[in-house]
């Protein structure tokens, strides 16, 4: 299952940072997921909550921020946020908002970024 390995990589990243910063608890984790990254945020959250049992991350609030798709149109040279057809995020069709072309290079929106964490530590 796709989301499981990604969730495990996220947990490993968070716990590594928590340990390096001598955290006693992880309170909050913010993850950026691109709008067309092939990850379902709800499945990801569910698996994160399973994987963190018994770790410093247990009970932490998981915040998932969706990153909109940005493109460079190969036809009209538009650069910026793309039009998407509004279907499920992982089936989104990316279009140029200026000329409607689908021949676009995606420059943003494929992230799976562990952005930051909020921790509790001894002063």
């Amino acid at each position: 299952m796709h989301e499981l390995s990604m969730a495990q990589a996220i947990v490993d990243t968070v716990l590594d940072a928590a340990q390096k910063n001598e955290a006693q608890d992880v309170l909050e984790v913010t993850i950026e997921i691109g709008q067309i990254t092939m990850l379902n945020p709800e499945q990801l959250k569910f698996l994160l909550n399973v994987l963190v049992e018994g770790t410093l991350m247990e009970g932490a609030q998981i915040i998932i921020e969706e990153i909109p798709v940005e493109i460079e149109c190969q036809l009209c040279e538009f650069k910026g946020e793309a039009n998407t057809d509004g279907s499920d995020h992982y089936l989104t069709i990316v279009l140029c908002p200026e000329c409607g072309a689908r021949d676009v290079e995606v420059t943003k929106g494929r992230e799976c970024n562990v952005k930051n964490i909020r921790i509790e530590k001894v002063d």
Binding site: H2, I10, L27, D103, E111, V114, I117, I119
Partner: protein, 216 residues
């Protein structure tokens, strides 16, 4: 006293995979090897196509056979007397650059100049994971239904070459090959689309000449 601290991490797992993919491609380039990532639906004919290409291409071919259980496809490739590395993904639905890095360690790079990397049969999960290949070939067949392209747009937007296989069965399964070709072209106007029946030999010459044109 306890205090609350915010720690910036900014570790993008996708970027980490892309870095490994770039390293893989560097290793392939250093050894003069052209690599083709073969993606596509389950049962679309990926393995059969690679087997046929091994026999028809004038290259020293190697194959990385990626699958949930890779021994079945790996065995088929081995019978063509080429170096094969089986890559079991276990529960995973796609190959990633890290797995391919390890497979390359087991591949006799000095003995090959063309590498096929057969991905797990899946039109969704492999999309995000570059492997370090030079060419992404997507293989689908009419028997998956002629709406398969519009249902899985991203894999076609990223493809360099699309093969629509088993066109000899189109009438029997009620699929429009023309619709499938048009759907791919709408998503990715510049991509080369070849309709084929590997079993009947249709489209094979065009697939070979297209791959050769990229290798050169």
């Amino acid at each position: 006293m306890h205090k609350i601290a915010d720690v910036e991490i900014q570790h993008d797992i996708m970027v980490a995979n892309r870095k490994l993919a770039r390293n893989n491609q560097r290793l392939l380039d250093q050894n003069g090897i052209f690599a083709v990532d073969v993606l596509g639906a389950i049962g679309s004919g990926k393995t059969s196509l690679i087997e046929t290409l091994i026999d028809h291409l004038d290259h020293k071919v190697g194959v990385i056979a990626g699958d949930v259980i890779s021994k079945y496809d790996a065995g088929r490739f081995e019978s063509h007397n080429v170096p094969v590395v089986g890559l079991n993904t276990g529960k995973e639905c796609h190959l990633d650059a890290h797995l391919v890095k390890h497979a390359l360690e087991d591949m006799p790079l000095e003995d090959i100049d063309l590498l096929f990397i057969e991905n797990v049969g899946n039109l969704i999960c492999p999309v995000d994971f570059e492997l370090g290949s030079h060419l992404r070939m997507v293989v689908i067949s009419v028997s998956e239904g002629d709406d398969t392209v519009e249902k899985h747009p991203l894999i076609f937007q990223d493809a360099d070459l699309v093969v629509i296989n088993k066109v000899d069965l189109a009438e029997a399964v009620g699929a429009s090959v023309e619709k499938m070709v048009n759907d791919v072209k709408e998503l990715n106007p510049g991509v080369k689309v070849i309709t084929s029946s590997i079993k009947m030999g249709k489209g094979l010459d065009e697939i070979i000449s297209t791959i050769e044109s990229y290798v050169l």
